[in-house]
Symmetry: C2
Subunit: 250 residues, 2 copies
């Protein structure tokens, strides 16, 4: 899926919601199917986190295939946070290319660990500034050059691809930092976890992070899939997002 196609879908649905399929329990595929059927008109992307499918690739694969077949407009993000030396990363990239449009990747090992994903899937989604408390252990370290590590990751990684094949993960718990992020990557899509359960503000994310093509995918996992009424929860998020698009889409 291209960036233009993604933006077109966002405009049509008035939503930049990504639903995280972090599904536990038995019968994961049937659960996911129900969630997908209930939420697809309010969302533009699904993001199964591979931690919930380790050793259960079949359920992950069936879920992706179901989305592809029944809701082909949706972006499928394999939230795998993979990364290895080049020829090994390529093995990961080829495996995910069979089922997903995008894969999240960890930047620590540098360029050759990320490039194979750019070649094999539509989007490599590089971790930059994550939403967890211990992001401060390394991501926010200040370098000799004066930058924070996450800033250098953005600056370096953006040279490996383009805004048409790379996105970045930036947590909603650091919404004010999105203004700084946008100085480095004005045109890239950002995948933003951490709204809801982790305390991030959707309004702040839109205010500081939205660009002229929206440029945001805001993820909700448990908040949607384990809501008493997932469709109502997704619709409510989409309504908020549509209103924020009216205010902040430049």
């Amino acid at each position: 899926m291209t960036k233009a196609q993604l933006f077109e879908q966002i405009l049509r649905k008035r939503s930049f919601l990504c639903v995280g399929l972090d599904t536990v329990g038995d019968d994961v595929f049937e659960f996911n199917k129900r969630i997908i059927d209930a939420t697809h008109q309010y969302a533009v992307a699904y993001k199964p986190n591979l931690a919930f499918y380790e050793g259960r690739w079949e359920e992950f694969g069936r879920t992706c295939a179901y989305i592809r077949e029944n809701h082909p407009e949706m972006l499928i993000i394999a939230d795998a946070k993979r990364g290895d030396i080049g020829n090994t990363s390529e093995m990961y990239a080829r495996a995910f290319a069979r089922v997903a449009d995008a894969v999240t990747v960890a930047p620590y090992m540098g360029r050759d660990s990320v490039e194979p994903f750019l070649s094999h899937v539509d989007w490599a989604v590089v971790l930059a500034l994550t939403s967890n408390p211990s992001a401060d252990d390394f991501e926010t370290l200040r370098l000799e050059s004066g930058e924070f590590l996450w800033q250098r990751v953005l600056e370096t990684a953006k040279t490996w691809g383009s805004a048409d094949n790379m996105m970045f993960v930036v947590g909603a718990t650091r919404a004010e930092t999105l203004e700084e992020v946008r100085k480095i990557v004005p045109d890239h899509f950002l995948l933003v976890p951490g709204v809801g359960a982790q305390g991030g503000s959707l309004e702040d994310v839109a205010k500081y992070g939205m660009n002229g093509e929206c440029g945001l995918l805001v993820n909700s996992s448990r908040g949607v899939i384990y809501a008493s009424d997932p469709a109502a929860e997704a619709r409510s998020l989409a309504e908020q997002m549509g209103a924020l698009m009216d205010r902040f889409l430049k």
Copy 2:
């Protein structure tokens, strides 16, 4: 497996060889079985890289189960380079705990991404300084404090666990750096890839990296498993390792 048990095995076999089961092609389990039967007396650990098993967990699981059942003295390292926010990393850790003794983990997201592995498997093996060329993109950046990022990773990560439940990945292509690594983590085991195909020197690794309990697991993947005679290749490496233990074991 405890550190004492690992060292005891190293002394008995006079080897600190880890064989990387980076197996491609059909019938992966049968191939692995042959490699394991041919090499176990010359090695102390097996390390399937999960990139080669993405979507093929059954073959990974069968391989680990075969090792457990037939060669229970071997350390099984799931080279997965995983890492996610805490409760999600725990899903990974629980899945790997069913089949492996150790898991490699990426440090970028910090403490909460690594800790679940310390709770669920015997060993978390944290990436510090990897053997790939683009390790220089981020790992060797100099911080405001004067350290390199990889030094800070060692210093910070070692406080999350101990030398009895944490190891570090340090590439053999940077053997001279092992002296610096040992100043920070004198007692931890190091998992060292990059000897052979990637050009690292086994003698330098032993000279700069060995400690009083050996403290080294040197990995060879393709160099062993795709050798014309894997047993002979593993034996040759073990013989070199035994000789290096005579010289450098303190």
